[in-house]
């Protein structure tokens, strides 16, 4: 990558232009700072951001639904969208020669028009069917239940996909008002990543997205605060489902992206999960305890969680969970040297090299991170910040997050496989598991 240029359109919309030399493709991303968190104010709208994400593909009075679908395919690449708790991202990856058409198409699609009742009703069925598919997936189901409990009474408790009830009762009028409130240019950022002519592109963006209305006040959602836990407290959720495996998700509360601890928490999560030599691979996978297991740092602007997700056979579930807790406790107490951190940073750097070889991956990362971090940041600066984490920072963070556990544990499986007593293994923590 040879350029990382952050600019503003004439109306004030921030734009990231990340240039990859000699590639043949380009990815355009349009990211809005809206998602499940905005629905918290009116819980009957649970799932409306995601529903509206679908609706933008339905066109408006200038472009019919069929024309939208045909124009998307005429780009010849991949176009899609996804919704999260705090952002909704639309994107197209295509050959560089199609970028002009992609911008024109998105400029047109994101122009507000009347949503027809017929298209609204049709899409309401589609999102309910998507919800049912999500219910069929053990991994998706347990993640959503755990998140709801972990972030109870905060704006993060909303289910991005909605509920059967909310999706059935939402009205077109509610959707139009929601769209008018949250989808202005003041709540939007653009990203173009790949091979393109920078100045030509910027002129085109200014003559399209740059002409859209940018209001003074940016919409907000309720933020929360990370409080240092004073005691160990693990809320337990048991979900009965006829699966041969037992799935579990241990989500430990952490500070978020804007915390000074962010990069140290990243290091901590990589120590546990990055690569073949990680603790998860050593103790859970290669020992044959879990058919799969991974951990990642799921962060938002204000708060986050370390998500430890795994699946085991019923006869190994107790041992897997005990091993998980012992592993985490060892992370708290093990000796960590500067050399350990330096080697870990090398591994992260190798991972970054490979993961962001594809420009569309960089677009995805930046389109989410922008709202949580408040700015675009180069991979080089990210790596530098990670390398700047000291032993003292690292020790402080592991004490902060793992000294006392504030977590939710979700277990999904057959009734007879999940209703066992939960306790901390010996020589780890002491405290309550609250069902």
């Amino acid at each position: 990558m040879s350029g990382f240029d952050v600019r503003k359109l004439k109306n004030g919309v921030p734009v990231l232009l990340a240039h990859y030399d000699e590639g043949e493709t380009v990815t355009i991303g349009i990211t809005y700072n809206v998602g499940g968190r905005n629905e918290w104010e009116n819980k009957s709208l649970d799932g409306i951001s995601h529903f509206l994400e679908h609706q933008f593909f339905k066109g408006n009075e200038h472009i019919s639904p069929n024309e939208v679908l045909e124009k998307v395919d005429e780009l010849g690449g991949m176009t899609n969208a996804f919704t999260m708790e705090d952002c909704t991202i639309y994107f197209s990856k295509c050959m560089s020669s199609e970028l002009d058409n992609a911008i024109s198409l998105w400029d047109e699609l994101l122009t507000f028009g009347v949503i027809s009742q017929e298209e609204f009703d049709k899409e309401a069925f589609v999102v309910r069917q998507e919800f049912r598919r999500a219910e069929d997936s053990p991994g998706n189901l347990i993640y959503r239940k755990v998140k709801k409990e972990l972030f109870k009474n905060t704006s993060l408790e909303m289910d991005v996909i909605g509920t059967e009830e909310s999706l059935s009762s939402m009205t077109l009028d509610q959707m139009e008002r929601y769209r008018a409130k949250y989808y202005g240019m003041e709540n939007c950022a653009l990203l173009i990543v790949g091979n393109f002519d920078k100045e030509e592109l910027f002129t085109k963006l200014n003559s399209t997205f740059g002409n859209k209305k940018f209001r003074d006040e940016k919409p907000k959602y309720q933020l929360t605060q990370y409080n240092i836990p004073k005691e160990n407290k693990i809320n337990v959720i048991r979900v009965e489902k006829e699966t041969p495996l037992v799935f579990y998700d241990l989500a430990i509360l952490t500070p978020g992206r804007k915390s000074k601890h962010y990069h140290a928490i990243e290091l901590l999560s990589h120590l546990i999960s990055l690569g073949r030599s990680s603790l998860i691979q050593q103790r859970l996978i290669r020992k044959g305890l879990c058919s799969y297991a991974y951990l990642y740092y799921n962060y938002y602007e204000d708060i986050g969680s370390l998500e430890f997700y795994a699946a085991s056979s019923p006869h190994q579930i107790k041992e897997s969970l005990d091993t998980t807790f012992i592993l985490l406790h060892d992370v708290l107490t093990m000796e960590i040297t500067s050399d350990t951190l330096a080697k870990l940073c090398d591994k992260i750097e190798y991972q970054v090299l490979s993961a962001f070889e594809d420009p569309s991956q960089l677009m995805q990362l930046q389109s989410i991170d922008y709202w949580r971090n408040g700015r675009f940041i180069t991979l080089e600066d990210q790596m530098k910040a990670i390398r700047d984490v000291t032993i003292e920072d690292f020790d402080e963070v592991r004490q902060l997050i793992l000294g006392n556990l504030q977590a939710t544990l979700g277990v999904l499986g057959k009734s007879e496989d999940i209703n066992f007593e939960l306790t901390f293994p010996e020589n780890t923590w002491k405290g309550e598991f609250i069902s």
């Binding site: 395919d73 598919r133 041969p244 490979s354």
Partner: protein, 415 residues
């Protein structure tokens, strides 16, 4: 086409990937699932490096190592930063040249693989995709064996079994692909690629013959252990073909589900609201391609799902396709260029899959071939195989028996 080795320099990439493809898979393995266990074991430890040492070595050099055991062929692929390419090739040589098999590791791998099998069979969607539609289309043919094998056979595997299968697979000549920044034939030779190839024998496998179910309008349904909200359906068409014709099926898939304006998306999701995620796929082998149209539907609308999907497939082969629609589908079929060109590993895997099935791998040639297919008599080529013995139906999840309905609907749509 019989390409043995492809080395491709790409200046936009940051890494180098090397892949080996061997003509071994679940269709040829002596015990169900042994191939997967063998490849996983080989990439986990060697005579010189135990599993922790090997893991540390790979992570410290930024080398990733993947195995992909398939039905008719299997691959081992590595990706690394350019500065560590010699280490990556060295480790491949060590993995191929000096494996060590022990009972404890086999037990761990077997336990894990059994969990994976249980996971796949419990979920209606994956049960359909990995097992049921294969049995519907191919009956008892060994192609229906999933690469993960079966629990009973896996539990009996010994180090001796793995050693024996290892001796067999290294007699075969691998196909090789390497994609990355600043590479060429001479450099790869200097880095040790030819020595790596020299560790294998020179046997080329005969073309595998795959047979259909032999039953007209074959029907198969299976209940998954996990309760589902939906019925999951698959309508299948077997194409008996050769390598030169395999790309023809890509155009059909593209018209059916290649994009938002494709027929399944518009009719099944958009117009009828039958399914959230209808799609068509093709699995290609030496003499056979399996085209499947899959969808999730509410159980009470499963019959409508069959009727609509089968009619769509048939109409796509019999009606004149409007030129703009054909051009869009062609562009979608050709978009592989967009998907593979930005990553050394995806490009390597793509080339391996092409040369293993005897197809051209150069993107520009593939595009030209698709242009020629679209301009030619492609519908008739596929339609000639729309025969009762080539059509089958599979269903999992929540459902009523629809055997009679399927036969009646399929029998009513004739060429």
């Amino acid at each position: 086409m019989n390409t043995e080795k492809v080395i491709l320099a790409r200046s936009n990439l940051q890494t180098i990937s090397i892949g080996l493809s061997l003509p071994i898979g679940s269709i040829t393995e002596p015990s169900k699932g042994i191939n997967s266990i063998l490849l996983n074991h080989m990439t986990r430890s060697t005579q010189d490096k135990d599993e922790e040492t090997l893991a540390e070595f790979l992570d410290n050099k930024g080398i990733s190592l993947y195995t992909s055991p398939g039905r008719t062929y299997s691959t081992i692929t590595t990706t690394c930063p350019p500065k560590n390419i010699t280490y990556a090739i060295e480790i491949l040589q060590e993995i191929i040249g000096s494996p060590e098999f022990d009972e404890s590791t086999i037990n761990q791998l077997v336990q894990r693989q059994i969990s994976q099998i249980e996971g796949m069979q419990s979920n209606a969607d994956s049960l359909l995709g990995n097992y049921t539609r294969w049995k519907a289309a191919f009956g008892d043919d060994p192609i229906t064996n999933h690469p993960t094998g079966d629990s009973e056979t896996l539990q009996k595997l010994t180090p001796g079994d793995l050693e024996g299968w290892y001796q067999s697979i290294t007699k075969f000549k691998p196909k090789i692909a390497a994609v990355g920044i600043d590479i060429n034939e001479q450099k790869m030779k200097n880095w040790g690629l030819d020595d790596l190839i020299g560790q294998f024998g020179n046997i080329a496998i005969d073309k595998i013959k795959i047979s259909g179910s032999g039953i007209d309008y074959n029907y198969r349904d299976e209940k998954s252990t996990m309760k589902s909200e939906n019925s999951y359906l698959s309508i299948n068409l077997n194409l008996n073909t050769d390598a030169s014709m395999l790309d023809t099926s890509d155009l059909l898939i593209s018209l059916l589900s290649g994009g938002f304006s494709s027929r399944m998306f518009k009719e099944i999701r958009g117009k009828r609201n039958l399914s959230y995620s209808p799609y068509a796929i093709v699995n290609k082998y030496g003499n056979v391609a399996l085209i499947s149209s899959l969808l999730d539907v509410r159980p009470e609308r499963a019959e409508e799902g069959i009727q609509t999907t089968l009619r769509l497939m048939h109409d796509t082969l019999t009606e004149e396709i409007p030129k703009p629609e054909l051009m869009r589908a062609l562009k979608v079929a050709q978009r592989i260029t967009v998907f593979v060109s930005d990553s050394s590993s995806s490009y390597t895997n793509y080339i391996l899959s092409r040369i293993t099935s005897g197809q051209d791998w150069e993107v520009s040639k593939i595009k030209t071939q698709l242009d020629e297919i679209a301009a030619g008599n492609w519908q008739q080529e596929i339609l000639s195989q729309w025969q009762p013995q080539n059509l089958s139906f599979a269903m999992t999840g929540e459902f009523e028996n629809l055997h009679q309905q399927w036969q009646s609907i399929a029998g009513g749509i004739t060429v």
